[in-house]
């Protein structure tokens, strides 16, 4: 007997008028894993998550959550599911606590003390009795997490949880998601940020323009990632360029901002840097421009160039 999938979406398609927002996507999330749905804004991530929650009806395809479908179970599909889509919204004229109490009513009640517990988890206990209208964006985001935990879910769906947060907020939110994931909860995380997903997800689906551009594990994704890129600032860029010509395995060019752009495998790049030192070219700065996965992500989803669709298809086929 195969274990029940937390999410089993097959061939899901949704059109908004003439626009195909989601085009036959298939996403399968095993119970207990942390799954990332990645894509630039407008790729169809949110539409897919809304269909998962029954907020939008798919035109075709099937969505089963813990082996229940909307057709059979209605709102029972959401029994083990919680989360939020885009930024969480609450009633501004109610306090944070009153919002949670109301939502708990809709959930059929919660066990005693749970509201206090979830408020503690997201560190909103002190502000719980203020009206949500006065909350900052980050506070609302945290209240959204609290409202989700209130359902004691088996599957937590978070849509861009770090969106709009300040760096400290992003750090805290990531820490929270990690801890939740570590506790055995199935997490379905959507993001436009590779870095966010890379750290915590086991499997990812990359969406581009409503279609699946990549589907697999992070490890698989890494194997097809391009060489990382670095920005080098040296005391003598001309000399460095000249040296690079004799150094195989790295590709060096001069950037208009008068920095050297170096791409190549990590070992080759460090060998090149060592060569520079030996040649008395001093290194003033060394920055990673983008991680290999980010580079790949942009390659898979870059839709500004006409060839991108073609290329991402190739990338997809290469993986199969």
């Amino acid at each position: 007997m195969t274990p029940t999938l937390a999410v089993d979406a097959t061939g899901v398609t949704k059109n908004f008028g003439p626009v195909r927002a989601v085009d036959e996507i298939t996403v399968q999330v095993a119970a207990g894993e942390v799954y990332g749905v990645l894509g630039p804004n407008g790729a169809g991530k949110t539409t897919f998550l809304r269909m998962l929650f029954g907020l939008i009806r798919p035109d075709c395809g099937s969505i089963r959550v813990f082996d229940k479908s909307w057709d059979q179970a209605g709102v029972g599909v959401l029994d083990g599911v919680a989360g939020f889509i885009e930024s969480p919204r609450f009633y501004p004229y109610l306090t944070g606590r009153a919002n949670l109490e109301g939502l708990a009513l809709l959930d059929g009640g919660t066990r005693a003390g749970l509201i206090k517990e979830v408020l503690d988890i997201v560190d909103l206990t002190d502000r719980a009795d203020r009206k949500v209208g006065g909350y900052s964006y980050g506070m609302r985001q945290r209240l959204g997490v609290a409202a989700s935990l209130l359902r004691e879910p088996k599957l937590l769906v978070l849509d861009e949880p770090a969106n709009g947060l300040d760096p400290a907020g992003i750090r805290d939110m990531r820490a929270l998601v990690k801890r939740l994931a570590a506790s055995g909860l199935t997490v379905l995380l959507s993001s436009h940020d590779m870095g966010e997903v890379e750290e915590i997800c086991d499997n990812v689906t990359i969406l581009n323009r409503g279609s699946v551009a990549f589907h697999g594990t992070i490890a698989q994704l890494r194997t097809m990632a391009p060489d990382p890129g670095y920005l080098l600032a040296t005391t003598d860029d001309r000399r460095a360029l000249a040296l690079a010509e004799h150094h195989h395995g790295v590709d060096v060019s001069l950037d208009p901002d008068a920095a050297l752009v170096v791409t190549g495998r990590r070992s080759e790049v460090s060998a090149f840097v060592a060569a520079l030192m030996r040649a008395d070219v001093e290194l003033l700065g060394f920055t990673e421009t983008q991680t290999p996965l980010e580079a790949l992500f942009f390659m898979l989803t870059d839709d500004t160039r006409p060839t991108s669709a073609h290329r991402s298809n190739q990338a997809q086929e290469a993986l199969r």
């Binding site: 539409t47 929650f53 907020l55 919204r89 809709l106 959930d107 009640g109 560190d123």
Partner: protein, 293 residues
């Protein structure tokens, strides 16, 4: 959020096959709707208006040297409390009752769009149908409450300030104070059906346009248009079908002999408007894709 505790995850027991949980039913959704309504200023403002506004109106009309003869019972309004409540009733049915009920009913669905909270409530364990009926029942309950308060306040202040002399009926007959009080109370009660009709109209507009301003203003405008159409000669065939015609069905209680044909018709017409409005609203809510918020 920095104070994340290690026992933080009470939620996760085990990711097993079957997941069942309790679900909030209609009652729970209703309690939440009432709680939301109670937390909002507008509902209280309407209720306070319904209780307080009749008092200065009664005082002002009572102080007029010439009674407002253009309206039914107006000519007796300055020296008969029963006539004054009926004058105010006639005025209230022009647009006041549609407005009072629409302030809540025209907003109760659209405010979810305004606050982007459809996704918040629909991702819990309550179905769209349950949310729909909870909102509808809340709006209708509020309509009953506001009508009751307005009627009680108008009758009480009229009788206390102007008096409870015997009333001249619409057949010229004299109606004793005891009977008059019963008939006046019944007259206010007969406006409940069309008021609920307007409540349902406001609900469908609120659902359709997703805009509280449209949900509140349109029923009032439609009410005034219906009054206008109802007053025109020549197109009287559609007059009985108008929601506002039911607002005048109480006239039959004050004639001799009484007639109740328009009351029965009014009840049927109000029911038809309500059923059609709610049916359309329900269909929209059920089918709608929640893309906003």
């Amino acid at each position: 959020m920095t104070a994340v505790q290690t026992h933080m995850d009470p939620a996760v027991r085990e990711s097993t096959v079957a997941v069942e949980r309790r679900r909030g039913g209609l009652g729970a959704a209703l309690r939440f709707e009432v709680r939301k309504l109670r937390a909002q200023y507008r509902g209280w403002a309407v209720l306070a208006g319904a209780v307080l506004a009749p008092i200065p109106i009664v005082v002002i009309i009572n102080g007029q040297s010439r009674p407002p003869k253009d309206t039914l019972f107006g000519r007796f309004a300055t020296d008969n409390g029963f006539a004054l409540t009926l004058l105010i009733l006639g005025f209230a049915t022009q647009w006041v009752l549609p407005l009072l009920t629409a302030i809540v009913a025209g907003d109760i669905f659209a405010s979810e769009d305004q606050h982007g909270t459809w996704k918040t409530v629909l991702t819990r364990s309550t179905s769209r149908a349950q949310i729909f009926w909870a909102k509808t029942l809340t709006a209708c309950g509020f309509a009953v409450l506001v009508l009751t308060l307005l009627a009680a306040s108008t009758i009480a202040s009229s009788l206390l300030i102007v008096g409870h002399q015997p009333l001249t009926g619409l057949s010229g007959q004299t109606i004793g104070a005891g009977t008059a009080l019963q008939l006046v109370t019944a007259s206010w009660a007969t406006t409940l059906a069309p008021t609920l009709g307007f409540t349902c109209l406001a609900i469908v507009l609120s659902v359709w346009f997703r805009n509280p301003a449209v949900g509140i203003a349109t029923p009032v405008v439609l009410g005034m248009v219906m009054v206008l159409i109802g007053g025109l000669g020549g197109i009287e065939i559609i007059r009985p079908l108008l929601l506002t015609t039911s607002f005048e069905a109480w006239h039959g209680l004050f004639t001799q002999p009484r007639f109740t044909g328009p009351l029965v018709e009014g009840l049927l017409v109000s029911a038809a408007w309500s059923v059609l409005s709610l049916g359309a609203a329900f269909a929209i809510v059920r089918r709608r894709d929640i893309t906003g918020g």
